[in-house]
Structure formats: structure tokens, C-alpha cells
Amino acid sequence: MSARQILNKIGLAVCVFLIVSPAIFFFLWMLSLSVKYEIDNASYPPVFIPDRFAWQNYIDVLTSNRFATYFFNTLIVTGTATFAALLVGVPAGYGIARMQAHRSAVVILIARITPGLSYLIPLFLLFQWLGLLGTLVPQIIIHLVVTVPIVIWIMIGYFETTPMELEEAAVIDGATRWQVFRHVALPIAKPGIAVAFILAVIFSWNNFVFGIVLAGRETRTLPVAVYNMISFDQLSWGPLAAAALIVTLPVLLLTVFAQRQIVAGLTAGAVKGG
């Protein structure tokens, strides 16, 4: 190996380090904040690895009386909104792809570019009139604004790439449109459905703006609950950081283990304008 090649390798290593370090540093610091006692979090210069680990921060968060409620709220809202979106979105993506009705996808695009806040004003009034505020129903419905467009968008793209020959053969054999979808198209589309599922779960789980308006004391999701913790300034940093890490941990794990699907989904959606 020549000196020049070694130099190139070192240069590349430095570049990689510079690019990845902000993310690595941030999440390590997040972890550090969450396992430190107040005295370590308030010391200057900052302590990175404390002498004593404050695992108690995590226990405090997990055993606080409302954490379980907020966790199940998030699970119900995200789960229902994602499941409903797959139920209506996968067939819709199939139909739009087979009809080649690309213009109908503009509606999906509009949903993608609209600020979430603008759906809140009319739907908030509607839920108020219907007397639904105080239940999880408004949040489940409004999360469809997030999940349905993602699912339809990704499924259109996926069904456009699946081969037509098998479906045509099934039609010739006398299968109905529905049977073709159910037994031919759907099994092939499983990887696409996985991508749509993962992205819908992540974006619904992370959603914050709908919750701050629609959630009451009993119906908060985890992101809203964490935000409400910030308002209490007397709370120490350790438990706050622990709560933040707990809320985002499922998403971070998904990012690591389903990286391929996430990257495929995001770039497909992105390059197509969503």
C-alpha cells in the first residue's frame, strides 16, 4: 500500500468521524444525562461518565403512576391508526397503481405538504360538537392524516413494480378482482407492506402536535407527556432525560433493526416528492 493510499484512508476515516460524531455524541450525551444524579448533571465542567449510576431515574419514570396509562394510550392510538391505514391504504395503493390514476395521488401529496396544525382547527371543533374530547377517538382519527397518506404512497410505488403477468394469468383462470388481489398481489407485496407499516408506526408514534391540542390529562400520548414534564422546571434533568430516552427508544431500535426498510421507504417517498 502506497503512502498516498494510506493518506486517503486516513482522510476518509476523518470525514466519516466528522459526519457521524454529532449523532453519536448527542445520543451518548442523552444516555449520560439519564444515568446521572442531579449533582453530576449540575456540575461544571460536565461529567460524561459518572462515578455512581442513577438507574433510579429509569425506575422513577417507569413506576410513576401515569406512565403505564400514557404508554398504553400511545400504543392504542398508534396501533389503531396504523392498522386502519393498512386496511384502507393497501387496497387503495393497489387500485391506484393498477388504474394508473396518478392524478389521484395529488391528494396524497397535498396531505403530505399540509401543516398538521391546519387539520386541527376544523377537526377540534368537530370533535367538540360530537362530545368526543376526553376519549382517545379524536387522536386515533387525526393520526389517520399521518398514516393513511404514507401507506397509500408507499403501496402505489410498490404495486407499480410488482409484475402483472401472474395477475393476468389468474384473471384468465377465472379469478375475481378481489381474489387476484388477495391471493396473488398481496403475498408479493409483503415487503412493501412492511415498509409502510414501519414508517406509519414511527411517524404516528413521534407525533406531537395533534396530542397537545386533543389530549386531556387521561388521554396523553408519551410525546405529549414528556413535553408536559418540561413545564415543571423543578424536575431534575436525570429523570427527564430518562423519560425522553424511554419514549424514543422503540423508534431508535426500529431504526437500527429495520434500517433497510426505512431507507427504502424514505428515499422512494422522497424522490417521488413525498
Binding site: I19, Q100, A101, V107, G116, L117, L144, F181, A244, A270
Partner: protein
């Protein structure tokens, strides 16, 4: 009448289908449930918003029709005008910086090196993580006395900053978070573009003795420009409607120094409950974003790069 119109559109669409015997009209049952959902949660809110924006509509008070009065209020509302300026500054910075860093990161991730997959996974974590959770940690890092960022500055011999606690530095500080968060998306899109590049131009350039930077400047950059452009348009839309990070870190403060249109909209609608005016702002904001998206669609159709990024 409507049925015939539909049939005609479907017939046109079907003409391009690979198999003509698959009558396109039979696919409507597949789309119908989604159509109902979309009408209920996307189209209905917009129609209702237009209706509300034409009224003096406050929660707990009778509503009266006021025509376009809510729209005329906007240019004379100093807080709105100020919010527009904040939005423009915030958006401009939040488009340009992620584009620059994202493109550089894509060039690096296009090289082969050990642990590339793992490091790419870590690199995209900021954009997948729950925004409120990362906003909380950034708020702690921005703390002027105890925050780690001022400590890092001191390591490089730089004076401490007040970050988000000073009206003069709050927007750049928030842009720092936004850039950290969304550079990965630009990187992924540009990386998709790099993966689709032909190898021939590089081979001939190598023979001609071109340097790495010459090849990047004269071959790579022009070829990936469409991808950078698309990434830029997506960034533009997302930066304009950015909410979570700003709301969770500053709530538009200190004072109203970081109040963007989206945050002002939140205050008008859900703090002052001025539903009519809020609806008007929502509509104007929406039209602005749609116009930008239309430009994006136009360019997307002009260049055909639809498949290129999908396999990344």
C-alpha cells in the same frame, strides 16, 4: 354525468395499461374505503376551514359572516408580519445547511469503509427519533451555565453563547437542531442519486488525470443536481411547516423572537381561540406551501428521475 366523466378518464388511463382486458373501472372498490377516509379527514377539514375563515368565529361567542376581513387583518398584524420574516430566515437556513452537509455526507457514505451500514443507521437516527424527546435534550445542552455546548465552545477557546435564550441567537440555534435532524434525509436522497451514476465518465476522467475534486465538480455534481434539487424542495416544505422542535424548545420565545407562522397559527387558534383568523392564516400558509409544491411537481415531471432513488 359524473359517471361518464369517470369512465372517460378511466378509459384513457386504461389505454396505457399493459393488459387491456383488465378493465380499470373494476378497481374502484379497492380505492373507495381510502377515498372515504381521505374525504373525511383531509378534504372536509379544508372545506370547513375555508368556511370558518370567512367568519368572525371565536369559541364561546356567536359567529358572524365577515367576508374577507380576516384576510385583510394579516398584513396589518405586526406579529404576523414578523412571524413571516422569522419563517423566511428559518427556512432559508434550514434548507441550505442540510443540503450542503447532506451532499457532503452522501459523498462520504458513497465510499466503501468498514461498518458503513451501522454508521449509516446511527447517522439517520436524528431524523427518526421522537422530536419532542430530542428537543428536550437539546434544551438541556443549550443551557447557558450547565449546558454541554458552552463547555464544548470553551474547549475550542470560544466565548459562551446564550443560544436559545437570546433573541439574537435563538433562530440560528434552532436551525442548528433542524440541520442536525434533517441532514440525514438529504444524505439518503443524494446517496440514491450517487448509486445510479454511470461509471464511464469517471473512467475517462481518470485516464485524463483528473483529480478527485475536479471529478466531483465537473461530473458528480451536475449528475446529482436533480437529486439535490428534490431534497431541497422537500426540505423547503418541511422547514416552512416546522413546529415540534421550535414549540418544544422555545414556544416561539424569548418574547416572540422565534415565532414562525406555524407557531403563531397555533397561538391564534388554540391560545386565543380566534378560530376565524386562525383559519385564514392556515389557508394563506397552505396556499404558499402548495405553490412551492407545484413548482416541485413541475420540475419532477420535467426530469424523469422517479426510479433512480428507490433502490438505495
Amino acid at each position: 354525468m359524473t359517471t361518464t366523466a369517470h369512465d372517460r378518464i378511466d378509459a384513457n388511463a386504461g389505454g396505457a395499461a399493459p393488459a387491456d382486458e383488465l378493465r380499470p373501472v373494476s378497481y374502484w372498490p379497492f380505492v373507495l374505503p381510502a377515498l372515504i377516509v381521505v374525504l373525511a379527514v383531509i378534504v372536509f377539514p379544508w372545506v370547513f376551514t375555508i368556511w370558518m375563515s370567512l367568519h368572525e368565529w371565536k369559541v364561546g361567542a356567536p359567529t358572524t359572516f365577515v367576508g374577507l376581513a380576516n384576510y385583510w387583518r394579516m398584513p396589518r398584524d405586526p406579529r404576523f408580519v414578523e412571524a413571516v420574516w422569522h419563517t423566511l430566515v428559518y427556512t432559508a437556513l434550514s434548507v441550505v445547511l442540510p443540503l450542503v452537509f447532506g451532499t457532503l455526507a452522501a459523498v462520504v457514505f458513497h465510499q466503501k469503509f468498514p461498518l458503513r451500514g451501522v454508521l449509516r443507521g446511527i447517522f439517520i437516527m436524528p431524523m427518526m427519533a421522537t422530536p419532542v424527546a430530542i428537543a428536550l435534550i437539546w434544551t438541556m445542552m443549550f443551557h447557558p451555565q450547565l449546558g454541554v455546548l458552552n463547555y464544548l465552545l470553551s474547549l475550542f477557546g470560544l466565548p459562551p453563547s446564550l443560544w436559545v435564550f437570546d433573541p439574537g441567537t435563538v433562530i440560528p440555534s434552532l436551525v442548528l437542531v433542524e440541520t442536525w435532524q434533517w441532514t440525514p434525509l438529504v444524505m439518503l436522497i443524494v446517496l440514491g442519486g450517487l448509486a445510479a451514476l454511470p461509471t464511464e465518465p469517471y473512467e475517462s476522467a481518470m485516464i485524463d488525470g483528473a483529480s478527485f475534486w475536479q471529478m466531483f465538480r465537473y461530473i458528480t455534481l451536475p449528475l446529482i443536481l436533480p437529486f439535490i434539487f428534490i431534497a431541497g424542495m422537500i426540505r423547503l416544505i418541511d422547514a416552512l411547516k416546522s413546529f415540534d422542535i421550535i414549540f418544544a424548545i422555545t414556544q416561539g420565545g424569548p418574547g416572540s423572537a422565534s415565532e414562525t407562522v406555524n407557531l403563531y397559527l397555533y397561538s391564534v387558534a388554540f391560545v386565543y381561540y380566534d378560530i376565524g383568523y386562525g383559519s385564514a392564516i392556515a389557508l394563506v400558509f397552505f396556499v404558499l406551501i402548495v405553490m412551492l409544491a407545484a413548482v416541485m411537481l413541475y420540475f419532477r415531471q420535467r426530469f424523469h428521475w422517479a426510479e433512480a432513488g428507490g433502490g438505495a
